[in-house]
Symmetry: C2
Subunit: 333 residues, 2 copies
DNA sequence: CTGAAAGCGCTTACAG
DNA sequence: CTGAAAGCGCTTACAG
């Protein structure tokens, strides 16, 4: 808990110390009205002497501004998230807002409640919830009350009750899988990742779509967490199976791990096994072999999410279209 | 600018609408005191009807809490930064604080001023400035006044005037370079990156230290930006020079780009050229070859930075020691 | 250029 | 369980 024991100096203290009136202190603080240089000096030295610092809450209250945009996310280390966060921050700054980030494990509902409470006590415009569906939405909704929410969704239908911007994971996965199939593989394998509840991730659905469209029964997926380290094991499993000639990974970091495991098992990428991911991670160009992937425009998504919060009516039309596309590189042959 | 045209409903409006008194509305809001169920219902329905949402600033003012910790950084996409941000957020949450991130180009002093102004108008405890020296420190200091600052520094001396936690880049670079030399290379090349003003980055200084200690005149560095894409060109230059048998890169992302360029030029890593970086990026295990690097404990640094802000006196002793170490993998032979 | 006064929206004792 | 009153720390007209 932030301490509040020792009463902090206020402008009243500064005014007394400097022998001026309260509004005068305020004036040197805001710089709004001219103040006599020598008065200003007296006030300034009083401020440093008392280690005065303005109370932001009081300022925000009288100015009537609620400039904070809360962001709640399960994690921000994966590349897609990081770039979305960057774009949210950038857009917020352009609109004069401030972004407060809170990373919250959806499993830990007490932790979520507590952190949301901290958020709600602040001057917030609204909240962007990433991976909204991972959370206990009923509870979250109840707690947020009338505070506006926006979310970036990957197309799961229960997102429908909050304003959301859609990043079409399923279509992306379908496109990548289809591309791998077009290279002549009999089937395409997949690395399954944990997803909230026991639902199937849209990227897995897209993979299934593409296979079923081609009349292929989807094989049993390997299992991994998000992130390249845990993908090493999944990759080893896949490498051990000589049936595997093409692997679609739900993100690039997993693909890197899988490629490493293929290498360790002596299976060449792409000659023996084709690999592809999603995200267009900056390192997908530099990896050997470079990685075939699907670029999802997270910057666009972040931008629209902010606009949904600030001006719900015209956000989508205003923000252009996402620059999503398949990026074919060496790893798919 | 956040709009403030239409007056938002306040608890007074809700009270009138629900036919109760002001404190009663407050009570259903805070849940502090029991309220008769039927009164509560009336109030709640009034709130939804008016789309009421509490004013965070007013709440913060009366509660006396200033829970926001501002973070100013030039960039958060590189791995070291991302992990420090994660740890800052985590630690802040544990202490009941909220983190507001602002990414600011140190070159753009108007932009910096404007954003700091937004920050200052909020209920902030203090500000953590990453890469403090990149900014116009005089101006920043003046603007922040008595607001506490903490910074994570890599050892440049002018950081001395603010509380700082030291991440010893120079020692890390020295250790990595020394390790490369120990593999029998005649010299170790370097990829120079832009740094504020025209100063030399501590990682470059550490590289020079190690060479000079060994009686070796440092060769002319290649040049790159941070990030793997721009490192491709620097890597190509180094690959073209047959004198080059070992390259120390100021971070892992650059090392990945350099390794890719070596591959493109037909030079094998580590057989023909040894490569090493700094950071212990998650992908340094998965890259082929895996990358020799130096782990810098950014999570520790972030944690201490927060504690410096909240309790300047005992922060350092309390937070343990950083887990920094050389991590030797395939890329150095 | 400066002071006295009102008010921002909420919470919390204080009385009933 | 509920209402009337005071106050959180600041800014901004309003008068001088």
């Amino acid at each position: 808990m932030p301490s509040k024991h020792l009463r902090l100096p206020t402008i009243a203290d500064v005014a007394r110390e400097a022998g001026v009136s309260l509004p005068t202190v305020s004036r040197v603080l805001t710089g709004s009205t001219p103040v006599r240089p020598e008065t200003r000096l007296r006030v300034e030295s009083a401020m440093t002497r008392l280690r005065y610092r303005p109370n932001g809450a009081a300022r925000a209250l009288v100015k009537g501004s609620q400039p904070i945009i809360g962001v709640i996310a399960p994690d921000t280390t994966a590349y897609g998230r990081t770039s979305m966060m960057t774009s949210i921050e950038e857009r917020a700054r352009a609109t004069g807002n401030l972004v407060a980030v809170t990373i919250l494990d959806p499993q830990d509902s007490e932790g979520v409640s507590a952190a949301v409470e901290v958020l709600l006590a602040q001057p917030i415009v609204g909240v962007i919830v990433l991976d909204y569906n991972s959370y206990n939405t009923t509870r979250l909704h109840a707690q947020l009350g009338a505070i506006p929410i926006a979310t970036v969704t990957n197309g799961v239908d229960s997102d429908a009750d909050v304003s959301h911007v859609l990043v079409d994971d399923r279509a992306a996965a379908r496109a990548v899988t289809r591309h791998l199939l077009s290279r002549g593989h009999r089937t395409v394998h997949y690395v399954a990742v944990p997803y909230f509840g026991h639902r199937i991730h849209p990227r897995e659905l897209g993979w299934r779509d593409a296979l079923l469209d081609a009349g292929i029964e989807p094989p049993e997926p390997a299992a991994s967490d998000w992130g390249s380290e845990s993908a090493l094991r999944a990759g080893a499993d896949l490498a051990a199976d000589s049936e595997v000639t093409a692997v679609f990974c739900p993100n690039d970091e997993i693909a890197f791990g899988v490629m490493r495991s293929m290498y360790d098992a002596g299976r060449r990428v792409p000659e023996d096994v084709a690999v592809a991911g999603i995200d267009d991670h900056p390192l997908s160009q530099s990896y050997v072999p470079s990685l075939t992937t699907y670029r999802l425009d997270w910057r666009w998504a972040g931008r629209v999410a902010i606009e949904l919060l600030i001006d719900p009516t015209h956000a989508l039309e205003r923000s252009g279209t996402p620059d999503n596309k398949l990026v074919v590189r060496e790893s798919s042959g």
